[in-house]
Structure formats: structure tokens, C-alpha cells
Amino acid sequence: MDNFIDRISISIQRGKIDANSPYPPDMKGEPGADELTREALQNGVAANDILTLAMIPAMGIVGELFKDKKLFVPQVLMSAKAMNSAMLHLKPYFTSGEIKQRGTFVIGTVSGDLHDIGKNLVSMMIEGSGWRVIDLGVDVKTERFIEAVQENPGCILGMSALLTTTMESMEKSVRQVRSNYPSQRILVGGAPLSKEFAFRIGADMYAPNPQVAVEYINSIA
């Protein structure tokens, strides 16, 4: 089992999707996260072990390296793709209830803002740490955030903004959600934000990078 766990983990860390993928060059022709996960399941490795011992720790390592600027967005995207290829094999186990996600994370870019790079990276990393992610997209109105919270009791809500102008939309959305759901956990992020701003508008946490978001939501799950 350890052999599969290690190899799946390395495939995800290195962004090796499948045998056909030419990346990374030194793993050309080798099986990737896709084949290894399928084989692991066929060989009796428990789906939960693949998730908790290989996939989640691998994405955690990727997140740490990204935070420390030792990995960059292209490599992180490749790791996320490798993880998704492994995750497809685990879907039936989620459906059957044999393995469970840690919780639900709802995320969107706030009203008036069409930028999605940061939001997508956070979504990928959080999904990779074992959460169900509901991505509301970009230009999300306050009402939609509120509906999503209502539809997903117990979820954690994330909001992203890249523009200083849309920080105002974020403030409005955070205050309105907080007003309707006082105990709702809200995480915010985006290039122009700061911890001070996040706390001033009533958010629970400011994530300057995806890994901080992952650590925060895992700490309260």
C-alpha cells in the first residue's frame, strides 16, 4: 500500500497527470496520478487512505511550496490537474458515503469583479485538502452569497476581490451575510486586501495565499 500512496503523492506534487502527459520531463512515460489511483483501488488500497494519506498531504506540500515562492502558478495548476485525475476515481466512494469530505466551502469573486485566477487557485487547493467546493463564479451579488449560505448550512464562505473598488462590494457582502447569519465563517482574499481590512469589514480570516486559506478552514472543520 505504501508504495501506491507514495507514488500517488509524488505524482500530485510533481503534477504528473497520466502516462501520456509529457510533464514533468523526468517522469515521461511513467504512470501518473490517474493510473496509479486506479491501480491502487484495484489492489485493495482503501479510497480513504488514498485521499487522506496521499492526495491531501500532497496538495498540502504543494501549497506550502507555493506560499514560500518555491513553486509557481503553472506548477500548482499541474498539481491540481493531477489531483483531479485521481479524484475522479474516488467519486463513487464519495457518492456511496464510504469516504467523506471535510465540509463545504462556498467561494465567489464579489460583485463588479470579473477576476478569477486567485479564486480558482484557492478553490483547487481547498478541494485538494478534502473539501467539497461550490464555486459561485465571478461578479457574485450579495444576494447570491446569502442564498448559497442558506442552501449549505455549516459551510465556510470565501470571497475574493482583485480591485480596490470591489473591496467595497466585499464589505457590503460580508456585512450583509453577517447580518443575516451572525455565526457564518467568512474568509476573504485578494491582492489589495490586508488583515486589517478583513477584520474591519467583519471577516473572520484574511488569506494572503491559498495555503493560509486551507490551514484556516482545516483548523475549524
Partner: protein
């Protein structure tokens, strides 16, 4: 000796010290809207109105130069408008054949395309047909483009010189080939393609570079002093130094060389964290660097940057528009700006500026502090 604003900026770009630190910030579109409260759609599309606004703001805040962030305004832009609706004060909706645009005093226009084609897979990109020979658009922001009228690509520089004479330094702006690549492919596919299909990326980059070089060389024929290269995705927040060397530097260097041969200055604007690549940016041959965002938006220490590249490049920066100008108290804002002026003065070529563009909601009063401090604390003795 007293300098004109233009001379002051030129001296700094030539790595000399004028009478005082020159001041020249770039306005975001939202900031211009907030300060001028124009008819937002007309301000966006009408080159003469845009030029008037730039001059008004430069005069109002005692800046030494004007950055022209949009060029190529079409005098016939109204011909393509199907409907123009005033929604409320400072908010207008325009409908064109292919899109709906919402213009407001808040920020950039929001655009919805009625039937936008999906992004092509990089393998399906036909470089001859899908990458233009002539650059006729500016990728302003996600899903927002400014069309360059091929018959009037640089009229705005003529309007501006007619209005300001020789007084102010005027700078044009060109977008980096790397930005055009990411726009063509979409950010995710674009960034992944750097490692999955690097050779095709390089072919696309070269075609864009050829077009951008032609555009930049033509721009240099006008009475401008410098061209700013907008290269927001070339920092540590996105790509490694190795990718910078492979996919950004060789292409930006090509048209930087041509601009320098045309006798104009050229400086690179890359947002966020760039501390690990200052020396690489210097290798481009550019005359200066803009932005150099400090913590928390970036990671550049201005003094360290001067020590590392200041002998060969001028620096234009690095006031944090959000944390120092938008949200700080007056005392903190002044303290931050004074510190930057003091550090900047110790370097060879320095222009006081916001790192990134002025955030839209920065107040008029706060902007006046900049010229007051440049005047009181920025004199070279």
C-alpha cells in the same frame, strides 16, 4: 536652477538629479472617473475628452508628467453604438452589436458579450490567423478590450501636446507580449501551456512581439518621452524566474531595444512580488522600473532595489496606493510618502509615484499631499 516638469522627469529618467524629485502617478480609470465625474462612456471612448481629463488631473495635482494608458480612440465610436442609456447619474449602459457595456464612475467598464467564442485550445491556435499581424487592441483587464483605431492610433499624443506644449512629460503605454499570450489562451491554459507546450507559446509570443514592436516604434514617432510596458503577470505571484527568463525577457527585450534606438525611454511595470527578478528585469535593457510594490502588496525594499539596480535604471514608485493612500490616516500616509522620498533621493534616478495606479477611491485631499511633500521634502540640495 529651476526645471520644467518635463525636464524634471527627463532628468530622473537620465539618472540625473533635477531641482526636486519629480512626481508622476498613473491614474486608474476609476480614479479618473472619481476625480472628474465625466460622462463615463464618453470619457472611455472619446480621445479628446480623455486627453482633456489627463491634463486637468495633471494640473490639479501638480504632477510632472502624464501617462496615456489608452490610445487609439476612434472619432467614429458612436457609429457602432446601438443604444446609449443613462441609468442614473454616473452610470450608463451601451449596447453594441456584439456586447453590452456598463460604464460608471466606480471603475473600469463591465462588458457582457452576447455570443463570445470560447477560447481556443493552444493546439488549435493557427498562428497565422489567430495571432494578429497588426496589434489593434489593448487587453485592459479580464474580458475588457480597448480597440485601437488603425487610422487614429496615436491622435491622443497630438491632442495632449497641443494642450500642454512642452510643459509636461508624456508617456505612452504598451502591453507586454506575455499579457497578450495569457489573454489569447486564458490565464489558466496560458500558464499551463508554458510547461506543456512551451514551443508553441514561444511562437505565439514572437508573433505578438513583432506586432507590438511595430506599434511601439510608431508610437515613438510622436512627441513622447517614454513608453511604459504593462507586464502585470510577470511577477513572482505567477511565474518563476526561470519562466520569466524564458517567456518574458527575450520578447520584451526585443521591442525595448527598438524603443531605445528610437531615442525614447522605456520602463517596465510589473505588479506585486518582483524582488527575486530585479536583475533579470535590468537585463531587458529597459531604462527604468515602475511599481516595486512594498509589503504587503509586493516584496520590494526600495533602498535595496536602488542598491541592486539603481546605477543603471531609474525607479518610479513605490507608494502603496491602497494601504498608504486609501486606508491610512493622514499622519501614516505622510510618513510613508516621506520615507519613500528620502530613500528615492539617495538614488540616481527617481520619480515619485504610486506603485500601481491610484486606487479609485483615494481622495482629492490625499492626492494633494503628494505634491506638497515632493515640494517640501523632495528638493535636491
Amino acid at each position: 536652477m529651476s526645471y520644467t516638469p518635463r525636464e524634471r522627469v527627463m532628468a530622473a529618467m537620465n539618472l540625473q538629479k533635477p531641482d526636486r524629485v519629480p512626481l508622476m502617478c498613473q491614474f486608474s480609470i476609476g480614479s479618473m472617473m472619481q476625480q472628474l465625474k465625466p460622462s463615463p462612456a464618453e470619457f472611455w471612448y472619446d480621445g479628446e475628452l480623455f486627453a482633456l481629463g489627463l491634463v486637468e488631473l495633471c494640473n490639479r495635482f501638480d504632477f510632472d508628467g502624464i501617462l496615456v494608458s489608452l490610445h487609439g480612440h476612434s472619432p467614429d465610436w458612436r457609429d457602432k453604438v446601438i443604444s446609449f442609456k443613462e441609468l442614473e447619474e454616473g452610470r450608463q449602459e451601451l449596447v453594441f452589436e456584439d456586447r453590452q457595456e456598463l460604464h460608471s464612475w466606480t471603475d473600469l467598464p463591465m462588458v457582457k458579450y452576447f455570443d463570445k467564442a470560447a477560447l481556443k485550445n493552444i493546439d488549435d491556435i493557427d498562428i497565422d490567423n489567430d495571432v494578429p499581424d497588426v496589434i489593434d487592441y489593448i487587453p485592459v483587464s479580464q474580458n475588457l478590450y480597448f480597440k485601437i483605431d488603425k487610422d487614429h492610433p496615436f491622435d491622443i499624443f497630438v491632442f495632449l501636446r497641443e494642450m500642454v506644449g512642452n510643459t509636461y512629460s508624456i508617456h505612452g503605454e504598451i502591453t507586454s507580449p506575455f499579457d497578450y499570450l495569457l489573454d489569447l489562451l486564458g490565464y489558466e491554459q496560458g500558464l499551463i501551456s508554458l510547461i506543456m507546450n512551451p514551443e508553441k507559446c514561444k511562437q505565439i509570443l514572437q508573433k505578438f512581439t513583432d506586432g507590438i514592436t511595430k506599434l511601439a516604434v510608431e508610437m515613438c514617432k510622436y512627441d513622447i518621452d517614454a513608453i511604459k510596458i504593462s507586464s502585470p503577470f510577470a511577477g513572482m505571484g505567477f511565474i518563476s524566474p526561470e519562466h520569466y527568463q524564458e517567456f518574458v525577457l527575450p520578447y520584451e527585450s526585443q521591442f525595448i531595444k527598438k524603443v531605445r534606438e528610437a531615442g525614447k525611454h522605456v520602463y517596465i511595470h510589473t505588479c506585486g512580488h518582483i524582488d527575486d527578478r530585479l536583475e533579470l528585469m535590468q537585463l531587458s535593457g529597459a531604462s527604468g522600473l515602475e511599481c516595486l510594490d512594498p509589503e504587503p502588496v509586493g516584496n520590494v525594499d526600495l533602498k535595496d532595489a536602488f542598491n541592486r539596480i539603481g546605477d543603471k535604471m531609474f525607479i518610479k514608485g513605490n507608494i502603496d496606493s491602497v494601504n498608504s493612500l486609501l486606508y491610512a490616516s493622514n499622519e501614516k500616509a505622510e510618513e510613508d510618502v516621506l520615507k519613500i522620498i528620502e530613500t528615492g533621493k539617495s538614488g540616481k534616478g527617481f520619480i515619485l509615484s504610486t506603485a500601481c495606479s491610484i486606487a479609485p477611491m483615494v481622495t482629492e485631499e490625499r492626492l494633494h499631499i503628494l505634491s506638497k511633500l515632493a515640494e517640501s521634502a523632495g528638493k535636491y540640495s
